[in-house]
């Protein structure tokens, strides 16, 4: 059974390999466009900034330079699987020492042009889990929790006293991925 986290709640995860899974069902909005959700990761230094742009893992850059975060690839319709359609695999033992935290984001591609938000997407969720046992650490149902939002800072893994911890952030934005890029770009 997964641990259900309230926003801002923190857990000491004591793991080295975790997965972040994003899933949704294929469907079209009123405009006839697919819903294209994206999972991204920002590897941040002690200033809470990207040390360089390659530390932003997303559909155009699917591996972090240290190899710690690897994307399974870009699903543009939600049709890949009944479960997770996009996965970010994280190996915490490989994280560059300069990186203090990893923030996970889910966003809707071209939400503005396609006039979409999470409330319209069917069965969308983002979850983080122990990659060894598949036990869930935290999961958000996006349509219920973020119905009018278009981009969410889901949660972050961060170093504290030599351990990695996870904090469920659940911060929604009415912007796209660019909003979060602007926040963390140095």
């Amino acid at each position: 059974m997964g641990i259900s986290l309230v926003k801002g709640q923190k857990v000491n995860i004591g793991l080295t390999k975790v997965g972040v899974g994003l899933g949704w069902d294929p469907n079209q909005s009123g405009s006839g466009d697919d819903y294209d959700l994206d999972a991204s990761a920002f590897l941040l230094d002690s200033r809470k900034k990207l040390p360089n742009e390659s530390c932003f893992v997303f559909y155009n850059n699917q591996t972090s330079p240290d190899g710690a975060v690897i994307s399974s690839g870009d699903d543009t319709t939600g049709g890949s699987s009944d479960g997770d359609d996009e996965t970010l695999m994280v190996d915490l033992s490989k994280v560059n020492p300069q990186v203090e935290e990893i923030v996970f984001v889910v966003s809707i591609y071209e939400f503005d042009v396609r006039k979409q938000n999470f409330g319209q997407v069917r069965n969308s969720f983002i979850r983080i889990y122990n990659a060894a046992t598949n036990e869930e650490i935290c999961k958000y149902e996006l349509g219920e929790d973020f119905s009018i939002e278009t981009c969410i800072e889901f949660g972050r893994l961060y170093r504290r006293e030599g351990q990695w911890r996870f904090e469920a952030m659940g911060i929604g934005y009415n912007g796209g991925l660019q909003t979060v890029v602007n926040k963390y770009a140095s």
């Binding site: 155009n60 591996t63 330079p65 690839g73």
Partner: protein
């Protein structure tokens, strides 16, 4: 977006940036500088030999089960493109030549792939770089000057680039699994991998891709 970005370059969030009808993998490095003269100089610099660095770009053509279907005769005439098998029989992938010193500016070796003409039997192509006989010559990527490997799409957009010399994770390593292209539906996709390996021979890596 290329893996390595120049400072100040904005992150491009647009999708479908690459035109993958053709991909070119370019490998470049600098000719080895002569080691210090005299026995003492050589001892101090740790350089016993003054042999050139010979880097090689290699490609494995993989089928739907992720294996090399045709190993040819000692890899000649088969689905592995390397210095002894410069061109695939299909003519859809070839190596521009075997540069053994790094002489020349820019890419010193290129593998060019016509993805739009590739046989349907080929589902994935993996690109590898190695230092030829690097172990025997006591060489590794950390010693080679200005070594890089990059991949460019049909329109000349650089999709990924690793500066092998400057990166601590490649220090002491003699080969790397660089990147792959793979079919997704009717399209080809590119993925950077950048996985450094101890071995100086692509054949050790190839073992994971044969039946």
């Amino acid at each position: 977006m290329a893996i390595k970005l120049q400072k100040g370059q904005t992150i491009n969030l647009e999708k479908g940036l690459y035109t993958l009808s053709q991909v070119t993998v370019g490998l470049g490095w600098d000719v080895r500088q002569a080691p210090p003269k005299g026995m003492l100089g050589r001892l101090l610099s740790g350089q016993q030999e003054d042999e050139d660095y010979d880097l090689d770009a290699v490609a494995f053509l993989l089928d739907e089960s992720g294996k090399v279907r045709n190993l040819g005769e000692k890899l000649v005439g088969g689905d592995v493109i390397f210095f002894n098998n410069l061109q695939h029989p299909s003519g859809t992938i070839w190596l521009t030549g075997d540069n053994r010193t790094g002489a020349g500016e820019g890419d010193d070796e290129q593998i060019i792939v016509r993805l739009d003409a590739m046989s349907p039997a080929v589902q994935r192509i993996l690109f590898v770089v190695q230092i030829y006989q690097g172990k025997q010559k006591n060489q590794h990527f950390g010693m080679v000057e200005n070594a890089f490997i990059r991949a460019v799409d049909a329109k000349g957009t650089e999709m990924a680039r690793y500066d092998i010399s400057g990166d601590a994770s490649f220090n002491g390593k003699c080969s790397m699994i660089f990147a792959e292209v793979y079919r997704k539906g009717a399209d080809w996709k590119f993925r950077a991998i950048g996985d450094p390996q101890e071995t100086d021979s692509f054949v050790d890596i190839l073992r994971n891709y044969v039946r």
